[in-house]
Assembly symmetry: C2
Homo-oligomer: 226 residues x 2
């Protein structure tokens, strides 16, 4: 098995090199970039639909929609008004890697992009290990999944900068405690920025939109210091 581990290390360091190149390219254009990760069905696509509907006239948002199979998510994002939406079907792979992103990037006009969002494969384990060159990982968790998830899948919560707790509209029908999940998540990663939202009712989304705007403006300010 040690040969496999060596091989994995080699693949990962190759991935890190490619991710660093991607990060530099996005940085040079002043593009704010996020890698959305979660279990299947936590609501990544729903949050992106809402975000597009709200912000598409304010910021130029490009999306890469990863899936093991089907282009369903990409189609939903186009229907929500996405101008630059690229499907990325892995055909079986359990995560996106930097090589896959590098191949899709030429299809995106980076000069016409303020924010790049990659929607990863629904998987709370494997995508944690792959840097895609993003500014930050955003992990979603829905209130139907159990409030001990950060403790059971710590790598993902440790490597994310933001945790979005989704589906708070059905909180009362779930055995899920908001304070417990936040305590568990902060125990793994004390630097997490946390949002509580419902993509169905819209509750809590204003704070998320405001925060996104701040990130885009910060990025542009760093590029063109006055």
């Amino acid at each position: 098995m040690s040969k496999t581990i060596e091989m994995q290390k080699k693949v990962l360091s190759e991935n890190d090199r490619l991710a660093a190149d991607l990060r530099r390219a996005l940085q040079d254009k002043g593009i704010f970039s996020m890698n959305f990760v979660s279990s299947p069905g936590s609501g990544k696509t729903s949050l992106l639909e809402r975000t597009l509907q709200q912000l598409r006239d304010t910021w130029r948002i490009a999306l890469i929609a990863g899936d093991v199979q089907t282009e369903n998510d990409a189609q939903r994002l186009i229907a929500a008004g996405g101008q630059q939406v690229k499907p990325l079907v892995t055909g079986g792979s359990c995560h996106l890697d930097a090589r896959m992103i590098e191949r899709v990037i030429p299809e995106i006009d980076l000069d016409e992009t303020d924010m790049l969002i990659v929607e990863n494969v629904g998987n709370l384990v494997c995508p944690a290990g792959y840097d895609l060159g993003e500014d930050m990982k955003v992990v979603l968790i829905s209130v139907t999944e159990g409030d001990d998830k950060p403790l059971k899948y710590p790598a993902m919560f440790r490597r994310s900068s933001v945790m979005v707790i989704n589906k708070i509209d059905i909180l009362e029908w779930c055995d899920f405690d908001l304070e417990t999940v936040k305590k568990n998540a902060l125990q793994i990663n004390g630097d997490l920025t946390i949002f509580e939202v419902s993509c169905r009712t819209g509750e809590g989304l204003d704070k998320w939109y405001d925060w996104l705007g701040q990130q885009v403006r910060k990025k542009k300010a760093a590029l063109n210091p006055s």
Copy 2:
């Protein structure tokens, strides 16, 4: 990358060999065995808690509870009356493999076991590729996850014999259509046996318990034909 693929093939064929040994060992004892797979938070542990509470006085059930981190699930199953519950913490790995099961099996008294249940890591992708020597995979999906999941993660539904649709008590608050998910799943795998349950209210669980009993009896009958 081709070296990595070769190495993966070697690891998988080694896994298949170990799984075949395990299958034979369980077969020889007339033990019915299942490998429970799903996204994080679909309710694998909840279904097993219910199953233990209902059937622990009828059948001797042994459980192996896999998790990336924590022994939370194993502790819940012991609290639910599990006599033989073994935690299996992968320490980062995104799936269980046959080698891990082989290491835990000596801790279980197979002569005192009618049914062996392995609760896999919460991951709808990677565990599909690893035979653990089980009679069948049981895939759970909860009504909060979206009814297109079988199309987006086809390998898992193709390799499972049973699909349990959980959390039907909150169906009316979710954008999830039961007929659509069943149609999508049967399109991937026409042989799926399907149950619709709520582990919270108990709805639909009687059929599940009955079916489990039938499988155990069939297994014993095959061992001792009259």
